[in-house]
Symmetry: none
Subunit: 138 residues, 4 copies
DNA sequence: GTGGTCTAGACCACG
DNA sequence: GTGGTCTAGACCACG
């Protein structure tokens, strides 16, 4: 069952936290293709936030091709398909890489350490079951 | 002289773009300790944006210990000092690493490629003058 | 100035009508790259509909890369860039072509006539200024 | 025998998918005038969907003059008759042509390509039996 | 003044 | 019961 954690006292919008966590769950295989997500209302009740906020998050995920909506039935993990051109994919990650590099440099985290942190995160959500990572790693 | 580029057609707030670029310039040595930044008014005129926006950016940089304000004189690159504890530094980069990893995984960029992109960015702003990189990278 | 017409008594959602008309205006050059769209509130007042509906439409357009948001400034026509893979583009038009063909066949519109109708529509919104179509046409 | 395929993971309502496919089958001659459609219950069992959904679809088809209901006997392909005026037919296709053209233009599919896609679809369901197309295309 | 986020709540479509 | 659309209105961030 999908576990979503909302952090308040944090300026990341609620809907974005949800989007991010679902993306990770899908990308890492915790949520499988075809699997149902919690209904808008159920998740809203569970997290004690407004159903519209869940709708907004789910809507974003639909538009990014991560989940599909079946009206009256619910939302389901979409089959993997490539939506964005190579250029657009690059543009999208660069928009996130640049502030990260700026912050890391400024804060005094050295290059090795940053790459190490990211590697660890990547492995944590790798498709190979997280409790059973392959030896070779990267 | 500090070269700052503002991208419009982009919803990254102006003040954040300025903060990010100054941090990079300082971290990479393009701006040296003690060096003066453009005055609030000069930069505002130059970029054709509101002086309040520059003030906001410089204020954030002061709070992060990147620059110092000298009343009546201007802003200057601060001596490097560690402000944040190891834990706080980690918390700050993680806040940026997580959405990046979520997006990259979801979009279908593979781990190697992402690490490569980041390495490239890191080198671009490495302290070794960018026009004179050491041979092997690191 | 952008002219948007809302048809009520019509089951096409308001936000979708807006999205469609902006896409056409941009694709045909009636709205030029960099040009500002009416503000959310101005358009809402003008069309006498809720600002949230406009926001929804503009948000969709941003996500499809048609317009960019500049917080505090407004929305502007985005530079043209290819976002979707060839496959995704095909998938998207097919989702619209199939019901059209089904309806046309069923209703008794013959193939030539349908193609003619579509040609006419395409030309109406061609980049060549609509009042000055090139001779060669199709 | 009529072959109907339901796509889930797709927000096109089930009843609409059925309507569309029956229209195509009739228009292309796969279903002949007077031929019986599967009973509501049989089709519901076959597709594993609610019989109400089939009823809704068949009801729509009756209203559009595509099939006739014979109480106690079932549904049958109706003799071809023109129901809608030329103006109404035009209005109906235009409602589908406009969003298609908007999407195609916006997405960067060029006019020739779109017309080609539609031609292909039209031929796929042409009255000439699909396994025996005339030589010259149209 | 501009957009961004979130809540509250209504009414509808689908199954 | 499920999602979809729309309205109303609050409060915040940016400039």
């Amino acid at each position: 069952m999908l576990q979503i954690n909302i952090a308040t006292g944090n300026d990341v919008p609620l809907f974005r936290q949800i989007v991010e966590q679902v993306k990770l769950a899908v990308a890492s295989g915790k949520l499988e293709v075809g699997e149902a997500l919690p209904s808008v209302r159920a998740l809203a009740t569970d997290l004690r936030i407004n159903p519209n906020t869940i709708s907004r998050a789910y809507g974003d995920l639909v538009r990014d091709g991560v989940i599909d909506s079946q009206r009256g039935k619910g939302y389901f993990v979409a089959p993997r398909r490539e939506i964005f051109t190579k250029k657009e994919r690059h543009r999208r990650v660069m928009a996130l890489v640049q502030p990260l590099v700026a912050e890391a440099k400024s804060i005094g985290i050295d290059d090795e350490e940053l790459l190490q942190i990211i590697s660890t995160q990547l492995q944590k959500y790798s498709t190979d079951s997280p409790s059973n990572p392959k030896s070779g790693g990267e």
